[in-house]
């Protein structure tokens, strides 16, 4: 018997979970001499780098991180599943497979939005179960939440996680205001335990970094007082600059696991630095179990030179934002909000939106939790209210569904009648009475979906591909096609992947491909061809390889790009020439060519900023032409549908 416990004895590995099960691991946490640390790489990337931290960077520090002694590496879920496919061109499952091979001693954690999985809208139950089964191969700890703290929305995920022998970490989403009492949250914990049983970790999910350290300390204490055996995992954001304070208060009051990030990549809206948390708590007499300081520092030493390649993805507004306490935007959405404000040209209205309208909308809609997908509903509503100058005009379906209770009961109160009038019109009462209620999503025929996918790919699909397709169909197909053409490009360093304005002659890059083969690529001269394309001479593994890039198409596409003002779009709409009012993706086309439509009828549903937006017909008439298909990306002013006026 060893008299002294070594670091290796204290940490919890995936192997232990596999061999001894969940109860054993939870018991080990309870017996641990101190608190555990989760490295929230995914949330850091999402909050401060628009989710763009690339697999290359994660691989670069995988071995060091594996030796850090973290409770978990939070590396999947949230918006990352979507962004992995959409912007990083990696399968979110392959990413986990690659990293888990490099980090055999570290458990992986994710963030799952319950019924919304890793997306923005409820999924059918059979899709939820299949998805959880698939991701549970690599994800050991599942942090699950619902934006309304509506427990039934989380049950299928709970069940599948427990069935897979993984650790379930249900969350209580935290916010502030008169309704958000300790009593409310303690009761919510009880309701969770009723469905999960006692073998869980409980997450206090403070996605907005809300409340003071005192408030978090009090809440932790209240839960611990009622459930003294509970393992609490505190998750917060450093948006106001004081998450260290909240973490310290949580641990001093009984939390056993906390979230923090690598200091080299810490920003303003994600987690605070690991070492700061560790050192501060040490002064208070709390030991960080298993943490290897040197390796934490070594990780950041390796990360530091990489940060410059991500600077384009840091927020447009840098600096802490204590007003988060009022606007309550989750840290994970702060950066992207500023990005949208820049793209939408309303950056100057942001103070008004964030400090006045958003808090007002929050209160009016029920003061529930500003987290996906609720945070998008609040944000879009507030932006529309300010930009359009008329409040609650042209409400999108997500807000309507929410107000009809289709996503679940609102926890505290329903919006006032005047809001219903603004959203549903003067005759709202009958309509809402008839329509109100929880909307159960019917199971879909997964075999049919598989056949559709295989048709779109022109080849058989793997099980993983089907799972990814069921999350985000169009983006998954685009990714699969990308991968077929360009290979496993996630091996490329960020300095190549994010390169702007071309390389310099003689730039040389070395990297391993996904199959472990080492390559060198040196950039040689480039020439234009007669047809306007480009031939780039790369020296690939010491052989000159001229590569043709077709540019003509792109130039053509750029030419046809319409630039219309909202006024022009509206004017064209009155003539039946329906143009896209925004940049987005065609989600659904509820009409067909030849259909008779009336003014106000939905012609196209566009998805933008994660929200569905209806494009309505301005006139009554016949649909003569539909110029787009579901999945098409459309730009502002792009023609969508032609309606010919009656008579």
């Amino acid at each position: 018997m060893n008299a002294v416990k070594t670091r290796a004895d204290e940490i919890i590995t995936p192997r232990e979970l596999k061999e001894h099960g969940v109860a054993y691991v939870l018991d080990k946490i309870k017996r641990g001499d101190g608190f555990f640390v989760t490295n929230t790489e995914r949330d850091l990337s999402q909050s401060d780098f628009k989710n763009r931290v690339m697999p290359h960077t994660q691989v670069l520090v995988a071995e060091d991180r594996n030796d850090c002694g973290y409770f978990t590496l939070e590396i999947s879920g949230g918006a990352s599943v979507h962004v992995d496919m959409l912007r990083k061109q990696i399968s979110p499952l392959e990413k986990l497979e690659v990293l888990s091979a490099l980090m055999p001693d570290t458990m992986f954690q994710n963030l799952c939005r319950g019924i919304n999985l890793f997306g923005y809208r409820p999924y059918p139950e059979n899709v939820i179960r299949l998805t959880v089964q698939s991701f549970a191969r690599y994800v050991h700890v599942w942090r699950v939440f619902d934006f309304l703290n509506h427990i039934p929305n989380m049950i299928p995920v709970f069940e599948e996680v427990q069935k897979a022998g993984r650790i379930l970490e249900p969350s209580i989403c935290f916010s502030t205001g008169p309704e958000h009492t300790n009593e409310y949250y303690v009761k919510k914990v009880g309701q969770i335990l009723d469905v999960t049983g006692e073998n869980i970790i409980l997450c206090i999910k403070n996605h907005g970094g809300l409340g003071t350290s005192k408030r978090i300390g009090d809440l932790t204490k209240a839960i611990m007082d009622r459930y003294p055996d509970m393992i609490i995992h505190y998750h917060g954001h450093n948006t106001d600059g004081d998450d260290v304070g909240r973490i310290v208060a949580a641990v001093r009051n009984g939390a056993r696991i906390v979230d923090a990030g690598d200091h080299a990549f810490c920003g303003f809206f994600g987690p605070p630095p690991i070492l700061t948390v560790v050192d501060t708590l040490e002064e208070y007499g709390f030991r960080a179990v298993g943490i290897n300081r040197e390796k934490v520092i070594e990780t950041s030493n390796k990360l530091r030179p990489q940060r410059e390649f991500y600077k384009d993805f840091e927020s447009q507004f840098l600096g802490f934002d204590p007003t988060a306490q009022t606007h309550k935007l989750p840290g994970g959405a702060t950066g992207s909000s500023f990005e949208q404000a820049v793209k939408g040209g309303f950056l100057d209205r942001m103070p008004e939106i964030l400090q006045k309208e958003l808090p007002r909308v929050q209160r009016e809609l029920g003061n529930w939790w500003s987290v996906t997908p609720g945070s998008q509903i609040l944000w879009t509503t507030a932006v529309n209210n300010v930009i359009k100058g008329v409040r609650y005009k042209d409400a999108n379906d997500d807000l309507k569904n929410l107000m009809l209770g289709r996503y679940g009961e609102l926890p505290f109160y329903w919006p006032a009648d005047e809001i219903y009038t603004a959203v549903f019109g003067p005759d709202w009462k009958d309509y809402v009475d008839k329509e109100k209620g929880y909307q159960k999503i019917e199971d879909i025929d997964i075999d049919v979906e598989r056949r559709v996918l295989e048709h779109r790919l022109g080849r058989p699909a793997t099980g993983d591909e089907l799972v990814l397709y069921l999350q985000h169909p169009n983006d998954a197909v685009s990714f699969f096609k990308f991968e077929e053409k360009y290979g496993k490009s996630w091996v490329l360093p960020p300095e190549v992947w994010f390169k702007k304005s071309g390389f310099n002659l003689g730039d040389k890059y070395e990297f391993s491909d996904a199959f472990g083969k080492q390559h060198t690529v040196e950039v040689g001269p480039q020439r234009k061809t007669k047809s306007g394309d480009a031939v780039t001479y790369l020296i690939v593994d010491h052989h000159p390889e001229p590569i043709l890039t077709e540019l003509e198409q792109e130039a053509g596409a750029a030419k046809k790009k319409p630039t219309l003002t909202p006024k022009e779009i509206e004017a064209l709409g009155k003539t039946g020439d329906i143009r896209s009012p925004l940049k987005g993706v065609v989600n659904e086309i509820p009409v067909s060519e030849g259909d008779e439509v009336s003014a106000g009828q939905v012609l196209i549903v566009l998805e933008a900023m994660k929200m569905l937006n209806n494009v309505l017909s301005d006139i009554s008439g016949k649909v003569t032409e539909i110029l787009v298909s579901p999945g098409d990306e459309v730009d502002v002013g792009e023609p969508l549908v032609v309606v010919k006026k009656d008579g």
Partner: protein, 490 residues
């Protein structure tokens, strides 16, 4: 051995090359080597063609496409225009047109090829069979031209009764794999015979058809012969052209892999056939060979320089075009048989801008953005492709013929594979990966193949389209460079 005939000797000084593309260039090269002037003709779409740049002079004969290369009057006009005293017809277009040979003769221009009556006789399959019969040349049992109407049907049915099915219906004026129908049984015959006749009429303006026994999956072996005006006839060995796609040759090998006694017998038969036909100049006697028994039968005689003549040249060291010109001048063939080298192996592949996986769909209209060709020992290239070359939509999609020579079959395949790999063609799809797949196929490596090779080896079309991983990544890096941002990251 020469017959005692009076042959008038003429001197050629300027040769009009009545063709286009790689064969025009190939002829121009030898014409220039002989110190003669080479004049190219071209249709307008060929204005930027490489063969024109190699000629001493070039004459635009029309807007084409194809019709001016087929116009005898235009060719004679062009020859008059530039003062050419000889015309080389190449292959295709007017090469086997007896009228063209006759027109040249009439105009006092030397036609570098056989005399008109020889072309005419051998161009008609039934006449050709008659000639071969007289020389006791073995040929596939078959009928004469079928009589019209019901009598013809009866003749065909009777033939089927004696020789069994399947049988072949062939257009008497057909050739090059066209105008052939396979018939499986009597009822099939009754359906197909009228169709074959109608087809023959529309395709060759001659409704005559005949019946032949069908040799299943034979090998296609041919003998290159040279015949001078003095009655000297020599052979330059055999070529195995079994690897075909719907009777279109893709890959040719010299010599054919047959036992020595069979080869010798085939050489003799070919010479006898040429002699019986009164053949002059370069020609090819084609045989079908039973892949099991090596029994062979006369199929047809081609009265032109063939696409695959390069494989014989690579093997024997004889410049066939040079001999054609000398024969046309009335010179004696003076190639001693011991100088005709038949050792080793030569292979020719036709590298076309086509997508083999898509039924060899031509890539017309695409541009060859990058072109690098192989070199080194044993490599011969006959091509018109260059960096910036646009695959014509008006003409064929042949980029370059590559002929390689090896010490033996094994080395020939190794060299072919190496040379194919050394090509760098960016822009159109080509037949290169298809040939590489053949190089790696076991039956081909063992030398076991016949005319059914492509049908019985569908796996050679399943070569991976996926490039090497690094090639894909390089494509992306080049795109990020060319577009000045990564469109897949934002």
């Amino acid at each position: 051995m020469g017959k005692n005939v009076m042959v008038e000797k003429k001197t050629i000084t300027k040769v009009l090359v009545a063709n286009r593309g790689e064969i025009a260039l190939r002829i121009i090269r030898t014409v220039k080597e002989l110190g003669l002037s080479a004049v190219a003709v071209y249709e307008k779409p060929d204005s930027e063609s490489l063969f024109i740049r190699f000629a001493d002079d070039a004459i635009l004969i029309g807007n084409g496409p194809r019709k001016d290369y087929l116009n005898i009057d235009r060719m004679i006009w062009a020859a008059r225009q530039c003062g050419a005293d000889a015309i080389h017809p190449g292959y295709g277009f007017l090469a086997e047109n007896a009228e063209f040979s006759a027109a040249c003769e009439k105009e006092g221009i030397i036609f570098i090829g056989p005399p008109p009556d020889v072309i005419r006789d051998l161009g008609n399959k039934v006449v050709a069979r008659e000639i071969m019969k007289r020389a006791n040349i073995p040929f596939i049992p078959g009928t004469d031209n079928l009589s019209r109407g019901q009598a013809g049907i009866e003749e065909a049915l009777a033939f089927g009764k004696i020789h069994g099915y399947p049988i072949m219906l062939k257009a008497s004026s057909g050739g090059g794999g066209r105008g052939i129908r396979k018939v499986e049984n009597e009822s099939d015959l009754l359906i197909q015979l009228p169709l074959a006749r109608a087809e023959a009429l529309s395709a060759f303006n001659d409704e005559n058809i005949y019946v032949e026994r069908c040799i299943e999956a034979p090998r296609h072996v041919e003998v290159q012969i040279l015949a001078d005006k003095h009655g000297n006839i020599i052979h330059l060995g055999t070529r195995d052209c079994s690897i075909q796609r719907r009777h279109q040759k893709l890959l040719e090998i010299a010599p054919a892999d047959l036992p020595t006694d069979i080869l010798e017998s085939m050489h003799k038969t070919a010479i006898a056939a040429a002699r019986q036909a009164g053949y002059i100049n370069a020609g090819t006697v084609e045989f079908l060979v039973d892949a099991e028994t090596n029994e062979f039968w006369f199929m047809e005689m081609n009265t032109r320089l063939q696409v695959e003549h390069t494989v014989t040249e690579a093997l024997t060291g004889v410049d066939i075009v040079r001999e054609q010109i000398r024969i046309a001048e009335g010179e004696h063939l003076d190639i001693p048989s011991e100088r005709v080298q038949l050792m080793g192996k030569a292979i020719q592949v036709r590298i076309n801008a086509e997508d083999p996986k898509n039924n060899f769909m031509p890539e017309g209209g695409k541009r060859v953005e990058v072109y690098q060709s192989p070199g080194g020992p044993g490599i011969r290239l006959d091509g018109i492709v260059y960096q910036g070359y646009k695959i014509p939509t008006e003409y064929d999609s042949l980029l370059v013929k590559m002929t390689i020579r090896g010490y033996n079959w094994e080395q020939a395949i190794q060299r072919l594979r190496r040379a194919l790999h050394d090509f760098l063609i960016v822009g159109p799809q080509t037949t290169i990966p298809f040939y590489l797949a053949i190089c790696d196929e076991v039956d081909f490596q063992k030398g076991e193949f016949d005319t059914s090779y492509l049908e019985t080896h569908p796996e050679i079309f399943k070569y991976p389209n996926s490039e090497r991983e690094i090639a894909k990544l390089s494509k992306l890096i080049a795109e990020i460079h060319a577009k000045k941002h990564n469109p897949y990251a934002i």
